[in-house]
Structure formats: C-alpha cells, structure tokens
C-alpha cells in the first residue's frame, strides 16, 4: 500500500515537473504540425482565407513547379559536396590531433571557433573574402600564379564558394570525432600492432569500426544541416551582385524558396506543403542512413 502510494506520488510529481515541456510540446510542436499539414491542403494566403485544395499544392510542387526542381537540385548538389568533404576533413584533422600533438588544445580552439560565429557576420566576411578583385582569396591565388574565378559572382562557381564557406565550419564535427577517438581503447591498437597491422590496416580494422557510430551521427546531422541551409544563402544573396544577379539564381536553395513563398509572397498554404516535402525528404534520408548504416556501423557491447 505504502509502495503504491509512493509510486503514485512520484508519477504525479513527474507530470508536474514535466508539464512545462508537455505544454510547450503541444503548443510549439504538435499543434503547429497539425495546423501546418492542414494548411498545406489549402490555398491559404494570410490576407485572404484559403480554399481546400486537397493534394493540389503537392501535385503542383512535384509536377508543375520548375523552381521546386531548380532549388532542390541546387540543394542536392551543395549537400553532395559539402557533406562528404566536411566529414573527410573533420575526421582527418581529428585523427591528426589525436596523436597527442603538442599544443593540441590551441589548434582545437582555432578550428572550432568558426563554427560558433554568427552566420550573418561570417557570411558577410566571406563575401568580402571572395571579392574577385580586392578579396584575400583571389590575391592569395594570384601569388601562386592562379587567376581566381569571380566566385559568388559567377554562375559556375557560386555554389563551390558556398561549399568552401561551409567547410570553414568543420570544427563541430571534428570535436565529435575527437571525443569518439579518445574513447577507443589503447589496448586495441597495441593488439593490432603486435599482429603487425600497418597504419592503414589499423585505421580500417580498429579506428573506423570503433568510431563508426560517431561517424554515423555526424553524417545524419550533416545531412539535416545541409538540407536546411538558409542564413548564409540569404545574406550572400543580399550582399552579392544584387538581386536578380547570377548569385541569386544559382544560390536559390530550397529553404530560401520556401521562405520567399511563405513570407515574401505570403502563399502560406503552398509554403506549408513545401515544408512537409522537406520534412519527408529529411525523414527519408535519415531512414536511408539508418538502413545503410546497419551495414557499416558497429556498436560495441
């Protein structure tokens, strides 16, 4: 009787303590999600009440909207470059730093800092770095005899410039890799060395399997992040050669399209449908990562 009383008391207290989150969850997640899905089935435009259009928004988006495919392909190419490059650099540098190099904490600080800086300020900085004539990048390239492109002002280069900019922020993934690497037991390496495994073999047979869950985590997080790029693209678009310039067309990321649809043209029903397509795509990619991950992610214990 007494035990049951305690359990009940604790359960009541649990719900009391957690109630702020439950209210928040209903008000800021579940409620808006339902509303957003409903909106996506209408032609709601804030100034005028919408009409029920069923799956019309989705149909138009997938079959009749060239901007949808345009912005999706930009986002896809960008992600396909940024995610693997970012992971590779982050892992490579983490491996280097993990060799107990002297001054390791200083390098870690330097590499990590850019990830924390406000996106607006650092994007503005990069626009200036990429400036074709007076910017530091092209002048550095000129020193080694390379004529740099017009970067953000060039249709063929703008996306690569954005990828380079994103790589400046590899530090977050690197810190996570470092934490993972520090968790690999030394004895495993010693055992591998006794067996005569070289560096490469040690990496593939010890290090990689042991940090594969961390690698997986970074991959999933990186994918979600790359799909949602917004601030950088917005600022670069504003700072670039002006609205309507090549940078605007080539950097028309999906979330930027969503933002202009919903908040510039106030087509909120259509925007909501766009958001759901993004959400489903992220779920799909995450699910795919999990399915494929089962083949290469190793969970010790």
């Amino acid at each position: 009787m007494k035990r049951g009383g305690l359990a009940r008391r604790q359960a009541i207290l649990f719900y009391a303590f957690v109630s702020p989150w439950i209210i928040g969850f209903l008000a800021f997640y579940i409620g808006p999600m339902i509303a957003s899905f409903y909106l996506s089935l209408t032609s709601y435009e804030i100034i005028q009440p919408g009409e029920w259009v069923g799956l019309g928004n989705y149909g138009l988006l997938l079959t009749g909207d060239s901007l949808f495919w345009h912005s999706m392909s930009i986002t896809a190419v960008y992600s396909a470059l940024r995610i693997p490059l970012g992971l590779l650099i982050a892992l490579g540098i983490a491996l280097l730093l993990n060799q107990q190099l002297r001054g390791m904490s200083i390098y870690r600080t330097i590499y990590f800092l850019p990830t924390l800086l406000p996106a607006v300020a650092s994007s503005i900085l990069w626009v200036w770095v990429f400036e074709p004539n007076y910017g530091v990048l092209n002048n550095g390239l000129a020193l080694v005899g390379v004529q740099g492109p017009r970067w953000l002002g060039d249709v063929d280069w703008a996306l690569y410039a954005m990828v380079i900019m994103s790589l400046w922020g590899f530090g977050g993934a690197m810190i996570i890799f470092l934490a993972g690497l520090q968790g690999v037991p030394r004895t495993l390496y010693e055992a591998a060395m006794i067996d005569g495994a070289n560096r490469w073999a040690r990496f593939w047979n010890v290090t990689f399997p042991m940090i594969s869950p961390v690698f997986f985590f970074n991959l999933v997080l990186g994918t979600i992040g790359a799909m949602q790029v917004f601030g950088e693209a917005y600022v670069v678009g504003m700072a670039g050669p002006g609205p309507g310039g090549p940078a605007n067309a080539t950097l028309f990321y999906y979330v930027l399209y969503l933002y202009t649809t919903a908040f510039t043209y106030l087509r909120m029903g259509y925007g909501a449908a766009m958001a759901w397509v993004l959400f489903l795509l992220i779920l799909l990619l995450t699910g795919l990562n999990f399915v494929v991950g089962r083949r290469w992610v190793y969970y010790a214990g």
Partner: protein, 298 residues
C-alpha cells in the same frame, strides 16, 4: 604456442618501422595542422585588417594585410551608421530572457525525466528527442499565423516564450544525462530529512551540476545571439531588430559594388562576433563538452 617462437625474430624490425613511422607522421601532422590553422584564421585576420583601413586603402591593388594608416575610428563610425546600441539592447533582452527561461524550464523537466519514475516516461522522452529532428520550417508558418493573430509579431514574445516551455530538447537531454550521473544516495538522504523534490533539485542536484548548467547557458546564449531565422520572420519593424538581423540589413544600405564600405562592414561584423569569441575563450571547456556529448550519447 608456435607464435611465441616466431615473435622475437620479428619484434625488432617492427619496432623500428613503428618509430620511423611515428616520427614521420608526427612531422607531417604538425605541418598540416599548422598550415590549416593559418588558413582557418585567415578570414578573421583579413576581417580585422580591413576593418582598420581607410576606404581607398580597401580598394588598393594589390591589397596588403597591414593598413597604411590604422583607422580606429572606423569602429565608432560603423556603430553609429546603423542603430547599433538599439539592436544590441534588443539582442541582450532576448538572449537574457531566453537563457533564463531555458535554464529554469529545462532543469525542471530534466529532473522529472532523470529522477521521477512514472508510467509513460520513456515514451515521452522519445517524443522529446524526436522534436530535435523536426525541421523548424514545418512549424514556422502556423506559428507565424498564430502570433499575427495574437499580436505578437514585432514583439519579442515569439522568440522568448518557447524557451520558458523547455522547447529546446537538446538542453533537457543534456541536463538529464548529467543529473543521471549524480548518486541517488544524496537525494535519498535529503528525502529522509523531509525535503521535497523541488528542494532536492535546487539544494542537492543543481549545486552539483555547475558544468552542465554552464554548458546550457553558453549554448543557449550563442543560439539566440546568432539566431537569424526567428528575428527575420517575427521582427519586421526596424526598431525591434536584433544585431544579426540589423547587420544583414545594414549590408544592403552601404551601397554595392566598388563603393561598398567594406571597412565599416567588417568593423560592424567583427563587433557582433566579439561576444561569442570572448565567451568561447572563457568557457571553451563547456562548448567542447556540450558538443562532444551530443555526439557520444545522441
């Protein structure tokens, strides 16, 4: 058993190659790490350099790293060209209230998840974690409509209120993980002395959770100081802008192409970065621990 016989013969060459290997890889390691550090710092030093130049010096070819004359007055000029102090005040109000809200609500909720068993707790925790996966774009449109109807647009409420309801699942998760590491005996002892759960939380758990609390403070400060998406959507009147938003708008107002005053732009952008840089240097440990925790336990 056979192996034991073979081992001594090969042991010496293996050790030698391992040593040469180690020295070589260390040398290249230092080289790569140093070169990359220089590369990483280049944009920031370029920013500071430009921020101290005269405008014609900015547009001199080839550009130099060292300003011909160091113009400190670019900073006051930049910060008076747009209402910097106003935006700073707005940003501070938003960050301060969201950090406090996050801290208070996340501690309560995390304590519940860590210490109070109840039916449905596991399920709710999974729900909590799953909110981290939901892209903000899905909820933003209905929230905007709701806030418009409530008259909250152009106020700070859309940015502040969610933090008081533990909307940042990451912070709850982080605190819960930390609370779990505190021995139960401590709270049991307090319970025997007749302390209620709230007293246990504030008198026993929180004093032992300083590192976790600092991590939450540091991250939520950074999150709201840097936030652009929220202010861009909910703050449309100029006098409500935050620094990030104001900076982006300032960019369009200083001309374009050759006439653009990059020295002022760099000065203003650098000032917006400085609090984060300073915070990072003082609280680096908490940033690194927080990030590492997400990777290892997430």
């Amino acid at each position: 058993m056979n192996r034991a016989h073979v081992r001594p013969a090969t042991a010496v060459p293996i050790r030698r190659t391992v040593r040469v290997d180690a020295i070589l890889s260390r040398a290249t390691g230092y080289l790569v790490v140093l070169a990359l550090a220089a590369l990483m710092l280049m944009p920031l030093s370029w920013m500071v350099s430009t921020s101290l130049k005269e405008l014609h010096d900015v547009y001199t070819y080839p550009p130099s790293w060292i300003p011909k004359t160091v113009v400190w007055s670019n900073y006051p000029t930049a910060l008076t060209t747009f209402p910097f102090l106003k935006y700073l005040g707005n940003t501070l109000i938003i960050t301060a209230t969201t950090v406090i809200g996050t801290l208070v609500s996340s501690c309560l909720v995390a304590y519940g998840f860590a210490r109070l068993p109840a039916p449905g707790r596991g399920f709710l925790f999974i729900l909590l974690l799953s909110t981290m996966m939901l892209p903000g774009q899905v909820t933003i449109i209905p929230l905007f409509i709701l806030y418009t109807k409530l008259g909250w647009v152009n106020t700070y409420l859309p940015l502040i209120v969610p933090s008081w309801f533990a909307a940042g699942a990451f912070y709850v998760f982080l605190l819960r993980q930390f609370f779990l590491t505190i021995p139960n005996e401590l709270s049991d002892a307090a319970r025997v002395d007749g302390a209620g759960e709230l007293v246990i939380l504030t008198r026993v758990i929180l004093p032992l959770s300083r590192p976790a609390l600092l991590t939450v403070i540091v991250f939520s400060f950074m999150q709201h100081w840097n936030d652009f998406w929220g202010p861009l959507i909910f703050l449309q009147k100029e006098d409500t802008y935050t620094l990030s938003l104001g900076l982006a708008m300032f960019l369009t107002s200083i001309g374009s192409g050759m006439g653009r005053q990059w020295n002022l732009m760099m000065a203003a952008s650098f000032v917006v970065m400085v609090p984060i840089i300073a915070l990072f240097f003082f609280a680096q440990r908490y940033f690194i621990e927080g990030i590492a925790l997400t990777g290892l336990k997430g």
